[in-house]
């Protein structure tokens, strides 16, 4: 029996050796499958031996069975490992076939744009909302009363001639500034008032620096204890927020019928850093807004007590801000709506 066992073992060892040398060169899963069939498939030597177990003597059978199964297990485990290995390689190969030129252009999402005027309005709105302001609105078709009279421009006031007004009829006009919103808002609300009012305004003028329609933002703060220093702080902080902290600001006394004292606010020229250039007409300064302390006369029109409250108001030209911020040199561009312009913002 010993002999028989040894003979069986040597046959199986030889078979395993054959398996090892066959499997050594295997490259693909199908080659591996062939080998699997050859060595542990139905017609393999190992399977044949196992099939013939019944013919063996009872004493020899368990030992022989154990030996054959060991060989079979050894082969099958080996195949399992190799299969794993080849699978990984083949998977990798498959992925590598998916190669593309990653520098080819991607499929872009078409980009639209908010108008630069809207963007600047929203930027200013966010700034003032942060300071506790609300947004007020008013009609573009206004009455003489709100556009002029209640803003301290009685009929025949010389300052009216500074506004080239479009009229709908004798008393109805297109607002020449956003300031009428001040009156409309104060009529409906008691102090404290903190509002800004963006909107379209109209004047009869058309050249490189004037369009018959333009955009303003009005600001108004009326409260107890507001003073000129607060006015300066608010506008200085605003201008720094829009143009950057490095810009200098000056308040130049001016005249508006509805503020007293009135000021024009200039920001230092960015092109020449204040030394004077064509952009700033060699002054080193760029005018950006008109403002002042609310003239107490206005409070009479809206029923506030001028001894109780003070306030300040300002008006900013949006296109002017955009021109200075982005170096746009022709006001009319804003309304030409050339897509090459619109797509830049």
């Amino acid at each position: 029996m010993e002999e028989n066992i040894n003979a069986l073992k040597s046959v199986l060892d030889k078979e395993y050796e054959d398996f090892e040398s066959a499997v050594e060169k295997v490259q693909t899963l199908s080659e591996l499958e062939n080998i699997e069939n050859r060595f542990i498939g139905k017609k393999s030597l190992v399977s044949e031996y196992l099939k013939n177990m019944g013919t063996l003597s009872g004493e020899f059978r368990p030992v022989a069975g154990k030996t054959i199964n060991e060989t079979r297990k050894k082969i099958s485990e080996r195949i399992f490992l190799i299969r794993e290995e080849i699978s990984l390689i083949e998977f990798d190969k498959k992925l590598r076939n998916e190669k593309s030129d990653l520098t080819l252009p991607g499929r872009k999402i078409k980009k639209g744009s908010k108008n630069i005027i809207s963007q600047i309005i929203e930027e200013i709105e966010m700034f003032f909302i942060g300071l506790g302001y609300e947004i007020a609105e008013g009609p573009e078709i206004e009455t003489d009363y709100y556009n002029f009279e209640a803003l301290n421009h009685p009929p025949d006031h010389p300052a009216r001639s500074l506004h080239d007004t479009f009229f709908i009829d004798e008393n109805i006009l297109l607002r020449t500034h956003t300031s009428p919103v001040q009156i409309r808002y104060m009529e409906k609300h008691k102090p404290p008032v903190y509002v800004i009012a963006p909107g379209k305004t109209y004047r009869k003028d058309y050249d490189v620096t004037h369009t018959p329609m333009f955009t303003q933002i009005e600001g108004l703060a009326v409260d107890k204890d507001i003073n000129f220093g607060n006015f300066k702080w608010t506008l200085e902080t605003f201008v720094h927020a829009i143009f950057g902290k490095d810009r200098k600001i000056r308040f130049r006394p001016h005249y508006f019928p509805f503020t007293e004292p009135s000021a024009e606010v200039d920001v230092s020229c960015n092109m020449c850093k204040g030394s004077g250039c064509r952009i700033c007409s060699y002054s080193g300064w760029l005018e950006i807004l008109g403002a002042g302390m609310v003239d107490p006369n206005l409070y009479k029109f809206v029923g506030y007590d001028a001894e109780e409250v003070n306030g300040f108001a300002f008006g900013v030209g949006i296109e002017r801000i955009a021109m200075l911020k982005y170096g746009i040199n022709d006001l009319r561009m804003f309304f030409d709506n050339d897509l090459r312009f619109l797509n830049q913002f």
Binding site: N115, Y133, F228
Partner: protein, 806 residues
């Protein structure tokens, strides 16, 4: 307004201690904006005074002379074309390097002979229009010395912007007073008043019919004026620098005095007046007057005239009459120095479409106390120039207006208002410098308002402004306000509007902004005259031109214009939107009322998709624009709230246009622009348009958003196709499916629309993908089957729809 540095020096002691640039800065920072400071000498370099020693004819040119000119250091040979000189004349010589009318003088040969300079005419120097010959100077000029310095041209010109509240600053004296206040240098005032009141005369009558039109009329007669010399060169130059042309001594003097003290003057030829009486009155209706400029004006009772007994001789404050104009032959002159009602002058000048230096000043309300100063100054200057004394009679009619005012200025109010801590002494000092007499009484400063500031200083706050601007806005400390007493925020409506703008721009559209105006032409182009909705437009009575005549009743015309403009520039792929107001006019209670509404317009044209290396080109069509509207609506509304009803509009393609319906209400229009309009516009691509009433859209947005439960059971996806008649609208079928499927239907999508061989004529097949899911269970086969049955039966009943076999 322009004034010069040397002129200011006459009225401020020691002004030369401050440079013109510093003065400009101080004026600008106190409210008198200096637009420019210009050094004149720059334009008059290399001009020297010379004397013609001798001259002879040019050997090769009859019309030219060869002159030997002494310029102090050198004797120059100068070829000259003028004839008006003789030996010994003193002339202006432009040396090499001088710039005359934009060309630079250099030594050059003229007809073969070297000319070493040029003798100049007044016109060539820019002093006057006189070009009849070279300028001959008088003996007061020193030969060999620089011309500019001797002619008053070594000077600086300030270009100022005077705000309308400061008529007192429309003159040299007014600005001098400001500079004095800003620098503390002493201001030298006129004082002609007392001297004149003593010599009032009544032989010549000044009859003011209406003191409201003319509170004061002062006058003086100058005799034998035909003997006066010509205007001195320095005065001509000064006027020229202030943009006033020299005419004759007397006219020049009226202008000079006006620039100097702000009071307009007018000179009449006394002997051409029909009477020894001047009448100031309102014009009569249709009264005529021939003005100095040669135009005849028809007047009415709103115009103020100066008249003699025969009729008007001048339009008060605006222009004199031709009949009484002074000329070289005038012997005696009546000089008018009057004060007229500013509003009347403004109205008349506006009506005539004519503004002059005088009317511009009168409009802003001048000080009647100043009329006498102007006459005194005129007389003094005339004497200085001519050395002729005029008689000392003076005529004056003055409705004494008692222009005195005292205002109490509370120091605490001033400091509270400005956020400052300015001391009484400082306030008082500033007021003194400005010419405001004042007295301190505890914390109150009692301020007397001078008559020249009577119109603009009426209240305490006006004084606070005066103190603030002289103290310097820059010196007022910046103070952070106490924390805002309100919460800053957008209203819901404002939030929605901005969200709509954001959404559209993120969808790939560009936001445009157009003028609110359009022309009648645009309406015609869109066949809108007939459209009932577009008839009641708001019209501007004084439009810029006919293209800006009407306020938009729709954004469509402007958007189409934007498309056209871009297409003309070869920018063909356009997806734009605008959010703006449109305006309509409606009759209510017998009155025309304008309404304005926020409106959204969208326009698509050209390619939705460009051909890319792996993408096919695609052009926009109706379903692109509808998709945009639907996507927008779905952000704010239920999917089923929005639909489109076919409807014909003149500007839309006859079958590709309709109304946008939101919650059963029309809120806009959508469609393909009518091809005939496209043809008329000379473009060759389709245009798709939608317009939505944004106010109504936003109004309908629910302010509260509620969470809807999500099912935790797996969904079932089924496809159903129905065959229906061609006429049946998709929307109706969809509505019916949604209604019959009930709440388990989560999503419905039309994934195929088929017409063709497999179907009978006039039939179409609609294939839907339905996503079904119940909130409380997994839907089983039986549930699904019964749902399909319910839908099919309903569609069959309503539309004779047939379920297509899968």
């Amino acid at each position: 307004m322009k004034i010069t540095y040397n002129w200011l020096k006459e009225f401020i002691e020691n002004l030369e201690s401050i440079s013109p640039a510093e003065i400009a800065e101080k004026l600008t920072m106190s409210g008198t904006e200096v637009k420019k400071v210009n050094y004149l000498g720059e334009n008059f370099k290399n001009l020297v005074v010379g004397r013609i020693l001798s001259f002879e004819k040019h050997p090769d040119a009859d019309k030219l002379s060869l002159c030997n000119v002494d310029t102090g250091r050198n004797l120059l040979n100068i070829v000259c074309g003028a004839k008006n000189f003789k030996a010994d004349d003193i002339v202006v010589v432009a040396l090499e390097g001088a710039r005359i009318q934009d060309f630079v003088i250099k030594k050059s040969k003229i007809r073969g002979i070297f000319s070493e300079g040029m003798m100049c005419s007044e016109k060539e120097l820019g002093i006057s229009d006189e070009s009849g010959g070279i300028m001959i100077l008088d003996d007061s000029f020193t030969v060999g010395k620089d011309f500019a310095g001797q002619a008053g041209l070594d000077d600086w010109v300030f270009e100022l912007e005077i705000t309308p509240n400061r008529p007192d600053c429309l003159c040299v004296l007014g600005i001098a007073r400001e500079i004095s206040a800003l620098t503390g240098l002493k201001f030298k005032e006129f004082g002609y008043n007392s001297e004149y009141y003593a010599n009032k005369d009544k032989k010549f009558v000044i009859d003011i019919r209406d003191y409201e039109s003319c509170p004061r009329y002062s006058a003086k007669i100058f005799k034998k004026i035909d003997n006066y010399p010509k205007t001195p060169l320095w005065m001509k130059n000064r006027l020229m620098q202030c943009d006033i042309r020299s005419v004759s001594l007397l006219v020049d003097l009226t202008n000079y005095v006006m620039l100097e003290c702000g009071q307009p003057l007018h000179a009449f030829d006394l002997n051409k007046l029909s009477s020894k009486k001047i009448i100031i009155r309102k014009a009569e209706k249709e009264e005529k007057l021939l003005l100095i400029d040669g135009s005849e004006k028809s007047l009415d009772e709103n115009d103020i005239v100066i008249a003699d007994e025969k009729g008007p001789v001048a339009l008060a404050g605006i222009m004199g009459g031709k009949g009484t104009e002074i000329s070289d032959e005038t012997e005696d002159m009546l000089l008018e120095s009057a004060n007229f009602n500013g509003v009347s002058i403004m109205r008349t000048s506006k009506k005539m479409g004519f503004r002059s230096e005088a009317s511009n000043r009168f409009e802003k309300k001048l000080d009647p106390e100043n009329t006498v100063n102007a006459i005194g100054r005129f007389e003094e200057m005339l004497y200085r120039i001519s050395n002729v004394k005029s008689d000392n009679t003076f005529y004056d009619n003055y409705a004494d207006l008692k222009r005195s005012r005292r205002i109490d200025l509370r120091l605490s109010r001033l400091n509270d208002f400005l956020g400052t801590d300015i001391k009484t002494e400082k306030v008082s000092e500033i007021l003194d410098l400005l010419g405001f007499k004042n007295k301190t009484d505890g914390e109150i400063i009692k301020v007397d308002i001078p008559t020249f500031r009577y119109e603009d200083i009426e209240r305490e706050v006006d004084l606070i402004e005066e103190v603030a601007r002289i103290y310097g806005f820059d010196n007022i400390p910046v103070r952070k306000p106490r924390t805002a007493s309100k919460q800053g925020k957008y209203t819901d409506e404002q939030k929605f509007l901005r969200a709509i703008r954001n959404t559209l721009s993120e969808m790939g559209l560009n936001e445009v902004i157009n003028y609110s105006f359009i022309g009648r032409k645009d309406l015609l182009m869109f066949y809108l005259e007939k459209e009932k909705d577009y008839k009641d437009y708001v019209k501007i009575i004084n439009p810029l031109n006919e293209d800006f005549e009407i306020l938009r009743t729709s954004l469509i015309q402007s958007l189409v214009r934007n498309a056209k403009d871009n297409i003309f520039k070869k920018i063909n792929d356009i997806a734009i939107f605008e959010i703006s107001k449109i305006f309509k006019s409606a009759e209510s209670d017998g009155q025309r009322k304008s309404t304005e509404k926020n409106t959204l317009g969208i326009l698509l044209s050209g390619r939705a998709c460009l051909k890319n290396w792996d993408i096919q080109e695609r052009y926009y069509d109706y379903f692109d624009i509808k998709g945009i509207v639907e996507s927008l609506a779905e952000i704010f509304f239920d999917k089923n709230d929005l639909s489109v009803n076919e409807c014909e509009y003149g500007f839309f393609h006859p079958v590709l246009g309709g109304d946008i319906i939101l919650k059963n209400k029309k809120i806009g229009v959508i469609g393909k622009l009518h091809p005939k309009i496209i043809n008329n516009l000379d473009i060759r691509q389709d245009i798709y348009i939608a317009e939505i009433d944004l106010d109504t859209f936003i109004e309908n947005i629910s302010r509260e958003k509620k969470f809807r439960q999500i099912s935790s059971f797996p969904p079932v996806n089924i496809d159903l196709a129905f065959i229906v008649d061609e006429e049946i609208k998709y929307h109706d079928i969809e509505k019916e499916i949604i209604a019959s499927a009930g709440r388990d239907l989560q999503n419905i999508r039309l994934f195929d629309l088929y017409r063709g061989k497999q179907l009978e004529d006039n039939k179409k097949s609609l294939a839907f993908a339905l996503e079904l899911n119940a909130i409380d269970k997994t839907l089983n086969e039986k549930d699904i089957e019964s749902l399909i049955k319910k839908i099919s039966e309903q569609l069959s009943k309503k539309f004779q729809a047939r379920l297509r076999d899968q």
